[in-house]
């Protein structure tokens, strides 16, 4: 059996040259004259007394080792207000280090419908970049910053859209001239919905259309901008003057060339300051110079842009109005109650915001509203997206109608009982009646293998990808990206697999 004494204690019992541990120090017990237990001489030096205060053992004081904590570096001052956000929202469109891709063509009226170029990356024309920036078509984190200049893939959906643009513009006498195409874009995350909108805007600029864009639908319902009730409406509706003003600013900035060539052709009672000879640019400027009349100015601009003929007495300078592209990104935010409150503190539905309602109504009466034709593209978003049951059902209904299922059929999707479905949303997505064309659901999928190959070659030729791009490799990446989802392909393309070798260091 082991002894209860540990061996170190036992070893201390042995006669050692310095038996200090057992004998009490002199300072505490005074030396007694009697003989000590040991026969040997006591050999210990007098403990050195500290001058001044007596060193006493305090009770209730930690005996553990205390180390000073590492001081955090005090930076002189935190970054300035808004610096972090500016960094987050910064959009960089060029990387001077990346190689210029040889033989890269620009997006133009000819190339956008050229099916031979399918799968290649077309650069956005440099003068157009300012316009696209003005309508906020670029989003941060889309990866424009690693290439020499921004470019987009010409995929199947893009080519189809290009042809639609050509038909609606009506070179010659196409039967589709002046038609309105209304589409809701959906698709998986990273499938290119926002870039599809960007391509639509770019084509609109190329065709000299008027481009009106709501870059983020959330901003109109999240309670960030001011709102006031609109008088004389029942049920009460609300207008957001600052948001309207911002939209007018963007529109003027982007479409200056078109708007300055068109003159006012109608009488606008709400805008007494408007001269008959002024251009549409001046009209829009009224709106963002005075926020109070932003909404009437927007309405006036809309009337002007959709006019087919001048009012009597003002025919002198009338020029036929161009078609319009209207894009909205993040549609789901408009299908729920907004963050705004009414005077009785009940939440305001997004459809009661007059500005939102204006855009949504284009789904039902787009042809009636846009008399000169145009394209209405509303995209859903998958980042920062609210989950709205009724909206999902409505999109399913839309898809079912497109598949040929009649609304009276039992297979037609309908919201579940007691699910609290939003009637207003369902109403919005009802099939249109009369001459009004139906709106469509367009689901963006992945790229085909050939398109994916063209896209990956673009990475390689920009000097960003150090791999041999062949069928096998592209096939592998195509599968890894969930069947050519372009956002995932982009991640794979920019993922650096360096062949870096360790540098030997000699001693």
């Amino acid at each position: 059996m082991a002894s209860s004494w540990c061996w170190s204690c036992l070893s201390r019992l042995r006669v050692t040259p310095t038996p200090r541990a057992i004998l009490p120090p002199q300072s505490i017990t005074p030396r007694v004259a009697s003989a000590s237990f040991h026969s040997s001489a006591v050999q210990y030096a007098n403990p050195t007394k500290k001058k001044g205060a007596l060193v006493t053992q305090k009770y209730r004081q930690g005996q553990t080792l205390r180390r000073k904590k590492k001081k955090t570096t005090e930076r002189a001052r935190p970054p300035a207000v808004g610096e972090r956000k500016a960094l987050r929202k910064r959009i960089v469109l060029s990387n001077p280090n990346a190689l210029e891709v040889e033989g890269m063509q620009d997006l133009s009226a000819e190339t956008m419908v050229d099916s031979r170029l399918r799968g290649s990356v077309l650069g956005l024309p440099l003068p157009m970049l300012d316009q696209l920036r003005a309508v906020q078509a670029f989003k941060p984190k889309q990866g424009w910053s690693i290439f020499r200049r921004p470019g987009t893939v010409l995929r199947r959906d893009t080519l189809e859209m290009g042809r639609l643009f050509e038909k609606i513009s009506g070179e010659g006498s196409a039967p589709e001239k002046g038609k309105v195409v209304k589409k809701i874009l959906t698709g998986l995350k990273g499938s290119g919905k926002t870039v599809h909108l960007l391509q639509a805007m770019a084509m609109g600029f190329l065709k000299k259309w008027v481009v009106i864009s709501v870059p983020d639908a959330r901003e109109l319902v999240s309670g960030e901008t001011s709102y006031t009730p609109l008088e004389g409406t029942s049920p009460l509706q609300y207008v957001q003057p600052n948001a309207v003003s911002a939209l007018l600013t963007r529109t003027v900035e982007a479409n200056r060339a078109v708007l300055s060539s068109l003159r006012v052709s109608q009488t606008h009672k709400a805008l007494p300051g408007l001269k008959p000879s002024s251009t549409l640019e001046d009209l829009a400027k009224l709106g963002f110079q005075d926020v109070a009349i932003a909404w009437p100015a927007f309405q006036a601009l809309w009337t002007e842009l959709t006019a087919t003929a001048a009012a009597p007495g003002m025919e002198k300078d009338f020029v036929p109005r161009p078609p319009m592209v209207v894009t909205v990104d993040g549609l789901a935010h408009w299908m729920k109650e907004s963050a705004y409150r009414a005077s009785d503190y009940s939440p305001i539905h997004a459809h009661d915001l007059v500005f939102v309602k204006h855009f949504l109504s284009l789904l039902q009466n787009g042809q009636a509203s846009l008399k000169n034709g145009g394209m209405v593209l509303y995209a859903t978003s998958t980042s920062n997206n609210p989950a709205i049951y009724t909206f999902e059902v409505a999109l399913e209904q839309l898809a079912a109608r497109q598949a040929g299922i009649s609304p009276s059929s039992p297979d037609y999707p309908s919201p579940e009982a007691y699910s609290g479905a939003d009637e207003r949303v369902l109403e919005l997505f009802k099939p249109t009646t009369g001459k009004e064309p139906q709106f469509e659901l367009q689901t963006l999928g992945g790229l085909t293998r050939d398109e994916a190959r063209g896209y990956m070659e673009y990475f390689a030729r920009s000097g960003l990808l150090r791999e041999e791009v062949n069928e096998t490799w592209v096939g592998e990446k195509w599968s890894l990206s969930g069947g050519g989802i372009i956002g995932e392909l982009e991640k794979l393309g920019r993922h650096v697999r360096s062949t870096a070798q360790p540098v030997p260091v000699s001693v």
């Binding site: 061996w7 570096t73 930076r75 002189a76 935190p78 970054p79 610096e83 972090r84 960094l87 960089v92 990387n95 001077p96 280090n97 990346a98 190689l99 910053s145 690693i146 000097g463 960003l464 150090r466 650096v496 697999r497 360096s498 062949t499 870096a500 070798q501 360790p502 540098v503 030997p504 260091v505 000699s506 001693v507």
Partner: protein, 354 residues
């Protein structure tokens, strides 16, 4: 009541304690761990016993706890099985290693000049392959000491391995024939193919840097920061390299941004210290990973003094500063080198560490 322990289990238990007879036979046998454990574990001493006058092993002979681990259960079982079942002599008894061992062909050939002429062509080729004196037997570059020790301790193993390799080649050539019904070689099944599927997602240096960048165990966030850093290196203008502090290896400076991982590796490896100082000031070479760790740590420490808002930007700017030779990290490296060089005087004083 009958006794619960049977004779059978008792014998089986006894068998476990029997010393394995193959101890001197094979390196990777079940016997090895027992032997090494005897040396490695804390030695039970008795106070009244006489002191042990055992000569301590030289560093090259010592075994480290991680060097030879216990084999896996399966390995052990298969080794046991091989000893007991497979290697039987003709009379059906398990063979003993002594019986199995013969004198190697090489030894015979050394003695027999006539046999040397007529030995198989493969062996002649093997001899021709490494003419003596053509290469140094030692290396001038620093490597991990672990590998050195393995090579020193197993000179005999190498010659044995060469021999085994030759024999295997001869056998394969002799025995090779196409399976029945095949005109050409057997097609390779996908499962047999050596694919590149087993590979790391990130470069090893990038991985190390990312993990050192990690705060509070948030790896995904560190990876995001790493990608910001790489993008910064990719988009910032190429470094104006200070000729006094050049980057080691890698392509010329204008090409660096296009391969950000390479760029980063160059920065880190240029900073890596070759000699580490300890309290006794005896410099010893660090391994590649240790070297990089020191460099990364210095860079991260220096980046803390920067004023940029984001961590990733601070680090990225510091990296560019290092590449251009502006950073204070270089001074730190030079200082470390001075210490290391002055410490070389102490190299002879102390025995080799470990």
């Amino acid at each position: 009541m009958p006794p619960t322990t049977t004779l059978l289990t008792a014998t089986r238990a006894a068998a476990l304690f029997r010393p394995p007879f193959a101890a001197s036979y094979t390196q990777r046998s079940v016997a090895l761990p027992l032997r090494s454990r005897k040396h490695a574990g804390p030695i039970q001493k008795r106070w009244n016993s006489s002191p042990v006058h055992k000569k301590p092993l030289s560093p090259d002979e010592q075994k480290f706890p991680t060097q030879d681990q216990l084999p896996h259960v399966n390995e052990e079982a298969s080794a046991m099985d091989r000893i007991l079942q497979k290697e039987k002599t003709c009379d059906g008894q398990p063979s003993s290693p002594e019986l199995e061992q013969g004198s190697p062909v090489e030894d015979i050939l050394k003695r027999d000049k006539e046999g040397l002429k007529h030995m198989p062509k493969v062996m002649q080729d093997q001899l021709k392959k490494k003419p003596a004196g053509s290469s140094r037997s030692f290396s001038t570059s620093s490597r991990s000491r672990q590998q050195d020790m393995e090579t020193i301790g197993s000179q005999d193993d190498i010659s044995a391995a060469v021999l085994a390799d030759m024999i295997k080649q001869v056998n394969d050539e002799a025995n090779y024939q196409l399976p029945e019904g095949l005109k050409f070689d057997m097609p390779m099944l996908p499962s047999e193919k050596k694919t590149l599927n087993f590979r790391k997602r990130y470069d090893s240096m990038q991985d190390q840097f990312t993990k050192m960048l990690m705060q509070d165990g948030k790896l995904a966030r560190a990876q995001k920061n790493m990608s910001i850093i790489l993008d910064h290196l990719r988009t910032s203008s190429p470094p104006n390299i200070n000729p006094r502090r050049p980057l080691m290896g890698g392509p010329p400076a204008p090409q660096l941004p296009l391969d950000p991982v390479r760029y980063l590796t160059c920065i880190i490896d240029s900073k890596g210290i070759a000699g580490g100082g300890t309290a006794v000031q005896i410099p010893h070479p660090l391994t590649l990973r240790q070297r990089r760790r020191a460099a990364i740590k210095w860079i991260l420490d220096a980046s803390e003094k920067r004023r940029d808002a984001q961590l990733a930007n601070r680090v990225a700017n510091e990296l560019v500063a290092v590449a251009e030779g502006r950073s204070g990290v270089w001074d730190r490296r030079d200082q470390q080198h001075k210490i290391g060089i002055s410490g070389r005087a102490n190299l002879g004083l102390a025995p080799r560490r470990r």
